[in-house]
Every structure is written in structure tokens, then in C-alpha cells.
Symmetry: C2
Subunit: 584 residues, 2 copies
């Protein structure tokens, strides 16, 4: 077995060494050969006849002995194919081309994942059945990373998404920036390694200083900013949005900026030239140094590099080669998708109580997270700019501001799994339900014109919608919802509370990291299943205290109380039938 051979062509792995060496590994498979004798033959400067001569000598073939030399796929090596042999190939020496293998042979192969593993990783991940809602969730992956990176900031945590669509400045480009801890060159290298999750990573150059992953300590509603799990999110997001990414990062405490480019074009070039596919260069440089930015299409990069001066640490993710249909979508549905992001990060932006205008003066739940989105188009179009904190029509804001009372609870399961939950009551007032309606969801199919204000009359409250939206480590998992639990379900038989009150509740679940989500963070794996487990215990939390009474009873009492205190019904009493006023 010639396993020390330097393999170069098998699989997609190419010429690593660039040395002009060329050798083959030949197994003697003739029926009478007793052992799987393998020999390496250097054929770098040998022609076909020389090769045959060498073979004869090596395996002591007598001059008149017939033999066949073939690939492991039984392709006979003739003069033509001989020229195409690549370094490291395994060959069989046979008596005849169809002779059975007297001994087994081993053939070394390489099977590097194809670069589509990176370039196409996001493509099929962020789809939605109607192909519409995907893009905001790709951005969410980049916001997730920025939230993690800024978790330990003492001052403001600034996250910026800039859409640079003014083509006179180059681009189009999408830039996601944060003033977080940045990445060392080693960490930037790690960023590029697909599926290298935080749980299995060495962050330091040196083994002696390997820090393990530390699980963050529990915080209310699991707003721990530790929203990474698989080691794929950033790559999936950038290659879903575009075809090239330039990561620029300055780690805290270092004077240097590290820069790394990964692009579809690069991969293609490397494949064509048979270079190492997963090899590249990090550029180490001083902040503000844009001497490497030369092409006119990347004008905008200069200003980004110039901004670096004076920043203690930062990361900028610069995506180019943006899919044209994404550019159209991002412009056209600007308020739609920014609203979706405001919804996704509602509790990070507004603090654990959410966007409650009525509690404005209370500053103890102040959030120092600033997520700003700006859209630059060719002048004279003025830039559009929105701070997610100012969005006030996302569903969570609508729920928070129309709620009259809140019922809090906790579900504790096996292995530290914890869900905090709350149910809100949206009363009936005078002539209508106040349960909020999603103005966007109402229009089935793709939105034609998002400026069109469509006010939907909400006649039956929640209707058949599920009660709970679900958050994981504080951020929304958009495609999972939980309908209800046994204890807050409308009872079959009419009870103490009018049945329509069960249509006046909305809810939120905050799951911690013991629950698993899909790699695209669009769905929980088994949240509902786990919550239905008999081991899972629900308790009401009232004024911060866990109540050891039956939650069903507590809930029903709360609901009854809400109905009595908040529902204001106006009734037409003493209706006498239709009358016609004769006098008009």
C-alpha cells in the first residue's frame, strides 16, 4: 500500500505541492502473485516504453509474459492514456484485463467538499414557500453575529446595515458593521471554516492557551446575545445575498486590521488553476490603509476603510456581487423587511419589557443596542434611514401596546431547558376587538404596493391563529409558533369565562439554548414536543414570584379578571324592530 504517495488528482483535491513529481502505485494482481505487493514507480521523466520496461523489471516479468496494466476501473493504460496519468494514481498489474482480483488493493482517495459547500450553502436555506420572506432572515444571521460580538461592550452597541446602491460609487454592496470585539487573524481564519462551531473551536494560535466555550449565565428572557450555534450562519447569509464577501476586522487591543476575501470567482479561479481550493490570504494592515483598493467598482470601500481610524475595534462584512433581484426587493420593500427585523430583535432593541410606550419613564430596562439600516441610491434620491428602535408597527409592538394585562409563566424541563412565557390580554373596547391584526399578512400573495394602508377590521380577535410567537436566545424564530397549551385552551364546555375571551390573548415564548433550532434559524426542532412532555412543569410567575398553584386555575382566574376589568361592551338594549321615520 503506497499511502505515502502525494495524491493530487483523485477527488477534487488538486496539486498541493506543485513539485513536478509524478509517480504511480502499482499492485501486482496477477493470479499467481501470492501477496498484494505494491510498488511505487517514479514516472516523471519516463515515456510509455520506459514505463513498461520499468514495470517488467520491478515485477520480474519475463520477456514473453503477457500482462495488462490498468486503472482500478480496468481501463487499460495504453500510450494515449499513459500521458494523462496523474501523480499518485493507483494501477493494477493483471494477467488479462478481465481477470479477477486475486488480492484486494487499497487506493488512496481525497474527497474535499466541493466549494459549492460554501458558495451555495445559503441558496436553498433561506427560501420561503413563496420566495418572499427569505432575505430579512439572511440579514438576521449577520445581526446575530454582531450581537454576539458586541455583547461585552460597555457603551453603546452599534450595528449598522448599509445598502450601497449608488452605482456611481461602485457596488451594489451590502455592508454590515458593528463596534464589537472584532476578530484576531486566528478568529478570522476560524470564521472561514465551515461548520466550525464555537463549541469545538480553538481561538488562540497556541494550544497551551485554548479557551473552551463558556455557556453564558442565564438572563431574563434568554437575551444573552449568544446567538450562534453551527458555524455556518455568516457564510450562508453572505452567499445568499451576494457572491463575494470581504471581512474586515480589528480586534480590541491590537493596532492591526485583518482583512479576508472569500468569493465565488476566487474559488472558480482556484479550481481552474488546480490550486488549493480552501487556501487564501489574510491581509494584515494598519487602520485606514486603503492602498489595496484599486478597482473603480470598489470606490465605496475607500470610505469604509477611512472610517476605521480611531475605532478601538470593529467588524465590517462587505458583500458584493449582490443578486439583482435582491437589490430590487431591498429597495421596494424597505419598510416591510426592516419591520420584520424590528420584530425579530424586538426584545434586544427595546429591552425585556418590549416597546411599551406607557412605561416610557422607567429607564431600568434601557437597551444600549442600536440597529440602524440605511439605503443609499444614486443622487438626487435621498438616503432612507431607519433605526429599528423607531419601528412601531412590528407585531410585538402592536401586541405590547394593545395589551391590558399580562400573565407570566415558566416551563422547566430536563437538562436545564427553560422557557419563559407570557400571555397578554387584548380587551374588547366599546365596538371592536383590540387584538392587533398584521396589516401585511392580510394581503394574500406578494404585496403589490406597500404604501397602501389597508386597515383590516378585526371582528373575531385572534381567530384560529396560534397564541404564541417563539424566541430563541431572545430572537424570533419566525416559522415556529405554538398554538396553545392544555391549561390556556378554550374549554370544551362553557366555563366561568366567556368563550370569546380566549380569542383575546396573544403570547410569547422565550426559549433558552437548550432547545434546538434548524441551521437557518427559521424553525425550532421540537419546542412544542418538548413542552408537551409530561416532565415539563409550568408555573405561573406573579410579581417575580413563582406560584406553586395549579397554572390552569391561575390562568382562568386571570382571564376572568381581565374580562371583568377591561372588556367594555356597548350594547343596544331594548331594540324594538326597524322603524321608518316618516318625517324625513
Amino acid at each position: 500500500m503506497c499511502d505515502e504517495t502525494n495524491m493530487t488528482e483523485a477527488g477534487t483535491e488538486r496539486d498541493r505541492s506543485k513539485k513536478p513529481s509524478k509517480s504511480v502505485c502499482v499492485y501486482d494482481c496477477r493470479p499467481d502473485s501470492s501477496d498484494a505487493l505494491a510498488r511505487t514507480l517514479d514516472i516523471a521523466n519516463v515515456d510509455y516504453n520506459g514505463f513498461l520496461q520499468a514495470l517488467k523489471q520491478l515485477f520480474s516479468l519475463s520477456t514473453n509474459e503477457t500482462f495488462v496494466i490498468s486503472t482500478t476501473d480496468r481501463r487499460e493504460i495504453d500510450e494515449e492514456l499513459y500521458k494523462e496519468l496523474v501523480d499518485g494514481k493507483t494501477l493494477h498489474l493483471l494477467k488479462s484485463v478481465n481477470q479477477e482480483l486475486s488480492v484486494a488493493t487499497q487506493e488512496r482517495i481525497e474527497y474535499l467538499p466541493h466549494y459549492h459547500t460554501l458558495v451555495q450553502c445559503g441558496m436553498y436555506e433561506y427560501y420561503a414557500s413563496e420566495g418572499q420572506k427569505a432575505l430579512p432572515y439572511a440579514f438576521a444571521e449577520l445581526i446575530d453575529n454582531a450581537l454576539s460580538a458586541t455583547a461585552k461592550n460597555t457603551g453603546i452597541r452599534r450595528i449598522e446595515i448599509r445598502l450601497l446602491f449608488d452605482e456611481s460609487q461602485g457596488g451594489p454592496a451590502v455592508v454590515v458593521m458593528d463596534n464589537g470585539c472584532g476578530m484576531t487573524s486566528k478568529q478570522l481564519n476560524n470564521w472561514a471554516v465551515y461548520r466550525l462551531s464555537k463549541f469545538i473551536r480553538e481561538n488562540d494560535m497556541f494550544h497551551s492557551e485554548k479557551p473552551g466555550y463558556e455557556r453564558p449565565s442565564p438572563v431574563p428572557r434568554s437575551l444573552n446575545s449568544d446567538i450562534s450555534y453551527f458555524g455556518v450562519g455568516g457564510k450562508q447569509a453572505v452567499f445568499y445575498i451576494g457572491q463575494s464577501v470581504r471581512m474586515i476586522s480589528k480586534p480590541a487591543g491590537s493596532p492591526d486590521v485583518h482583512e479576508f476575501v472569500m468569493s465565488k470567482e476566487d474559488f472558480e479561479r482556484k479550481e481552474l488553476n488546480r490550486e488549493d481550493i480552501y487556501s487564501g490570504f489574510i491581509r494584515n494592515r494598519k487602520p485606514g490603509d486603503f492602498s489595496h483598493v484599486n478597482v473603480i467598482e470598489e470606490q465605496f470601500l475607500r470610505s469604509i476603510v477611512i472610517e476605521e481610524d480611531g475605532k478601538e475595534s470593529f467588524t465590517a462584512v462587505v458583500i458584493t456581487g449582490i443578486q439583482p433581484e435582491h437589490v430590487v426587493y431591498l429597495k421596494q420593500y424597505f419598510s416591510l423587511w426592516t419591520r420584520e427585523l424590528a420584530h425579530t430583535y424586538h426584545y434586544y432593541i427595546h429591552g425585556i419589557d418590549g416597546n411599551d410606550k406607557r412605561k416610557m419613564r422607567k429607564t431600568d430596562h434601557f437597551s444600549n443596542i442600536d440597529i440602524q439600516i440605511s439605503l443609499f441610491e444614486r443622487s438626487p434620491r435621498i438616503p432612507a434611514l431607519v433605526n429599528l428602535r423607531d419601528v412601531d408597527n412590528d407585531m410585538q409592538t402592536l401586541y405590547v401596546s394593545s395589551s391590558a394585562s399580562t400573565f407570566e409563566f415558566k416551563a422547566i424541563g430536563a437538562r436545564d431547558s427553560l422557557v419563559e412565557g407570557l400571555i397578554r390580554y387584548h380587551p374588547f373596547l366599546y365596538d371592536r376587538e383590540t387584538y392587533p391584526v398584521d396589516p401585511y399578512a392580510a394581503s394574500a400573495g406578494p404585496l403589490e404596493d406597500e404604501d397602501e394602508d389597508c386597515v383590516v377590521l378585526n371582528s373575531e380577535g385572534r381567530g384560529k391563529q396560534p397564541i404564541f410567537e417563539c424566541f430563541w436566545n431572545g430572537r424570533l424564530i419566525p416559522y415556529t409558533s405554538v398554538s396553545e397549551f392544555e391549561w390556556c385552551k378554550r374549554p370544551k364546555k362553557p366555563g366561568a369565562v366567556p368563550s370569546e375571551c380566549y380569542n383575546r390573548i396573544s403570547g410569547v415564548l422565550f426559549a433558552n439554548d437548550r432547545f434546538q433550532v434548524s441551521t437557518n434559524k427559521l424553525t425550532f426542532m421540537d419546542l412544542e414536543l418538548q413542552l408537551r412532555d409530561k416532565e415539563t412543569i409550568f408555573t405561573r410567575v406573579h410579581n417575580g414570584q413563582e406560584q406553586r398553584v395549579k397554572i390552569e386555575r391561575e390562568f382562568t382566574n386571570w382571564l376572568k379578571d381581565c374580562h371583568e376589568r377591561f372588556d367594555k361592551q356597548v350594547m343596544f338594549q331594548g331594540f324594538q324592530g326597524l322603524m321608518t321615520r316618516e318625517d324625513v
Copy 2:
């Protein structure tokens, strides 16, 4: 720039060459150095002091000049860290540790995808919200591959799934076998390359004979057996089911069997030993040679190898390290998941008209595909065995056999996209709707006991269910359904056909490969969106002829006709009110 250095530690890439060479690449970054001078230093047999001396000499440092030698992350290389330096490391020569970089430097990194790319690829792909239905679709990926492989068989196409759960024979193991074309060693190598799809593959050893991908010519209902797309299915499936796979294959026309093992354990070992992660061995041997099967846990392998004798070509996928919960599921829900597979491949198994018992004598749509599933447990338990063709309670069978008439149509869109479709009429007979009800779907939540026959009374036909199940290249895409089209929708105003007739239709769509599916083949990307496109033209197909009349009109007439011909209503006429019989 020292890019010819042999990198070994950056990223997850390890020691490729095993030569004990060790060199570092040092950039002169002192403020007064004019150029980014990089020099390679061989430090294999040099101690720390020797290293400093060499540095001084190389960069002509004067004896009293102060300098710092550091990593690109500004870690100063002292005597301790020097020992940990790995081959290929890039270092900076600085005046002081915090000095800014006068020139930019380049650092070669490697970023091989982590092996979790393979080992965990299926884990989050085949989930379902309730964690239940995933497994059949992992098997489906292996059946897809077997269908492709047997597409050109002239005789019977035999696909077998064996669950070897008799632990006295080793295992548990899952074996998927087919009598298809098999794989050459090169193709087996390609199999292992993640994301290497058929579209970008070289199948031959030699570039001169590279065959491109040939799109199969259109066949009715797109039953073309070409059900592969991404180059991930097999890997995702085996690592979702278990932790190790042995691929055994004999290509047609070759006397040799090729064998390749990929396993989590193997990857872990290679990482630990810093060996090449994506490197392995194919074993070439004669059929029936089990000399390499030694461990007692793999007893069952012997019989599989012995079976090889006399087979012209085949592929066997042998999965071990089966997740225990899968073993439980596969035993417990045997009839549930085999039924799901029968549903998925309904038209492959039964031919283009489906499982129509009433057309039994018509042999022109005969299918030569045999998919057999067997479950072996420890004796005295007798093996369970089912041929998918014999399953007669899958939904498509229920639809086919309760249908009274069929309306066929075609939708043609841009770029060769084609959907063939049909709608079936399930009449009202005497006292009940005949629209079939899924007995399994009826029980919400996980099935407690699958033997319990629950007959559900179907009072309103289809109800709110979508009309169409959707197939892609002839196989079911289970999580996508299409509710209706404009032309077969129940009209707002009562029309010529009673409204309840619209509840008596079921439908099937057969999409061709121009439509995209998600990588797990559980969802279409944008089938409905594309079908709603105004460019898409629907035409009725009647007796094999396309009708150039408005499809809406055709459909309404058909439905009216169905109602008049097939619905048999029994009415109680002359109801006079409740009477009480005094005589009893």
C-alpha cells in the same frame, strides 16, 4: 510573500506531508523598513536563541537594536511560545509590540470545511416540526439514488431496504441495495465529495473522456428516475440515520467490487492524529471476498458480501451506528413509514396511472420497479416484509381508487418548465362523501398505537385541505401542497355547479426538473409562485389531446358532468315533522 510554504496548522488543515520540516515566514514591519520584505526561515532544528540570531542576521539588525518578533495577532514570541510555533506560521518583526504596521502583510491561511459538514449535514435537514416524519425522507434519498442507478436496467429494477436489527448478528444496521449500474472507483470517489453534483462532475479518470451531464428526455409525468440534484442527499441521509457508512459497489462491465467507508469515528481519529481529514481508501477486491470483515459486530456483513457472487452490478449502502431512537421508531411505526414511502414513490411503483385496481388488465403501464423493505429482529421474532407495491392504504392509492373521473391538464412556463396535473372527482354516494380521509393524519400528535383502526367519518369532503399533492421528477415533495388555481376555485357567487362539488376533488401536480426543490427535497422553492405567473399557460388535456379552449370553462363543465353522473344522493322527501309513536 511566502506562499510556497507548506501550511499545516492554520484552520483545521493538519500536517499533510509528515515531513519534519518547520519554517516560518517573517515580515519586516519596522517603521523604517521601506518594503514588505518577507523571508522564510527554516527553524526545524533551531532553538530560541538560534532563531533570534538567524533573525538578526537575515534582517541585518544591529546588536543593540531593540525589536520584537510576534504573531500576526501581536503575541510576542518568547521562549515558551517559540516551542509551539508550527510550520508555515507568519510572523511580524516589529520595533515595539504596539507599533503600527508600516506595510501590509499577507498571511496564508487554510479553511477546510470542518468534518461536521459531512457528519452533521443531515441532522438539521430532516427534522419536522414534531420530530416525527423525518426518517422516511432520509430513506427516500437512498431510494432516489437507487432509482437513478437502475434507470437503464433492462429487467427488473430491484431496490431493497433491510433493517438488520437482530443484534446476535452484529449491528443494528440498515442496508439499502440496488441492482443498478454501480459505481466505478472514480464514481465512488465522487460520491464522497460533498456538493459535487452531477452537473459539475467528471466521471472518468481521464479528462479526455469527460462526459457532461445529459438531461433525460421528457417522459410522461416526469417519471425520469433522475432524482438527484445537489450532491448531498446520500451523505445527509446516511449521517442522519447513523454514524458510519460502508459503500459497496460493483460497476457493470468490471469484475471488481469497490468499497469505501466513511464514519464519524474515522474523522475523529484523523483530527486527533492531525491526519488529512478528507483522505481515505477505496478497497478494490473480487466479489464475495470478505477477508476484511473481522469484527464480530459486523457478522451481517459477511452474508452481504457472499451475496455479491454472480451479480453483474450492484450498490449496497451499509449504515451502522444507527441512532437508537431511530431503531425504536423503525420497528414501532413500520407500517406507517413504509406507507409513507409507498406514497412518495406511488407512480414509480405503479406506473403513470397509479394503483388503479380497476385497470388491472391493462399492462401497458407496467412498472418494473420493485422496492422491498424487510425488518429482521432477534429470533423467534419473524421478519416483517413489505413490497411497496402491495401497500394499498397510501393516500394516492386511496385517491385513485375512489375517483370516478379525472380531469387532466398541463401548465407550461418559461424555460421548459412543465407541470402535468390532474384532478379527480370523488362523488357523494348515497349517504356519505367518498373523498378519502388520511386515517393517520386524523390523530393529532404522535400515534400511540398504529394497529388501532380509526375510521373517521368524512362529512365535508376535502374541507379546507389544499387540492394538490406535488411531485418532482415523479416523486412526492411532501411538505409542499398547492391549494387551488383560479380556474378550479369555488366561485364566490353560486354557479352552475353546487358548491359542495368543489369539496369532492383531489389533485396531483407533476413538476419537471425545471422547478427547484430544497436540498432535503421536502419543499419546492417556488412552485406555486411560478404557476401563478401570468406567463404560465394552463391547457386541458383530453384523451391525450391539448384543448385550446378556456380551461376554466372546461373544468366547470367537467365538474358539472361529474356531479350529474356520479353523485348519488338519497333524500328524505316529504318530511312532516317529528312524530311520536304512541304504540311503543
